[in-house]
């Protein structure tokens, strides 16, 4: 009796199962004409604040909804529900990111034919959400001014995969040592084609351009 060693070539993605589910979601969204935007940032970069301003600016007849992910609490869903649009909290109970299965489950019972736009506010984390496709048309990374201009170099994955970088809290630029040009060139050194917007959810600066981007994304 002897042993033989065989090498089986695999060549498939590690997150095959998530990607398969995400592809199903993407097909479902496309069938219903829904554009899905996946918002990703560190905790406290202003995802919820930006969504509050966004929902507040929409006509009440706008067919928009939000899924918001957190490890614990439905605090964000409560903040966002005030605007009268459908909002659901996804509580991950420890998981540091949303995956396609969680999104599919959270959408149960919603009539997708009644929606045109869906925001997914991911768990505050610049690393883990990067790997998980949720069926979105675009990932959007938020970088707030107090975090520092080196974030794109420190966490390149998410800046590589995002279609848009939103620099948030720009009303704080006079008060913190943040070099805006460096933040932009750092992001472009990771991904030359990344689109960039600057907003302040406090002063409202830049929100017009953000709303335009959202409408055409």
């Amino acid at each position: 009796m002897s042993t033989t060693t065989t090498t089986v070539p695999l060549e498939r993605k590690v997150l095959n199962e998530n990607d398969r589910l995400a592809a199903e979601l993407r097909a479902e969204f496309a069938k219903n004409g829904i554009r899905v935007l996946n918002l990703i940032s560190s905790p406290g970069s202003g995802k919820t604040a930006l969504l509050e301003r966004t929902l507040g600016a929409f006509d009440p007849a706008k067919r928009v909804a939000v899924l918001t992910g957190d490890i614990q609490t439905d605090a964000d869903a409560q903040r966002l529900a005030r605007y009268g649009f459908p909002v659901r909290q996804i509580t991950t109970a420890g998981a540091c990111h949303l995956d396609a299965r969680m999104v599919a489950k959270a959408l149960e019972g919603w009539d997708l034919s009644q929606l045109d736009l869906l925001f997914i506010e991911n768990v505050g984390n610049l690393v883990c959400p990067t790997s998980y496709d949720l069926g979105e048309v675009a990932k959007i990374v938020l970088l707030s001014v107090p975090e520092g201009e080196e974030k794109p170099l420190k966490y390149p994955g998410i800046f590589f995969k995002s279609k848009l970088m939103v620099l948030t809290k720009i009303d704080l630029l006079p008060y913190v040592p943040f070099r805006l040009e460096d933040a932009i060139s750092n992001a472009r050194s990771i991904q030359p084609g990344i689109e960039i917007l600057q907003v302040s959810s406090t002063s409202g600066e830049g929100l017009g351009k953000w709303m335009e981007w959202v409408q055409r994304a």
Binding site: T5, H97, S131, G157
Partner: protein
Amino acid sequence: MHELGIANSILEAVETELRPHPGARAVKIGVTVGAMSGVDRDSLAFCFEAITKGTPLELLVLDLQEAPADELVLSYLELEESTP
């Protein structure tokens, strides 16, 4: 720490691959990890060791290789089979 989830996905893939080879032992699994994948190789290696310890796959070697961009791919599985 989503590397724990990634490590679990790798193990599930190994178990799936082993099914058509009863009696075979998985020796080595190759995974390519791109610098933009959002996965830390050291952390993945640590998680993989932690979840295989004390299981039939304890001796399985995780071969992590560099890859371009955001690639996160299972490249190969090395099996050892007894032949009479």
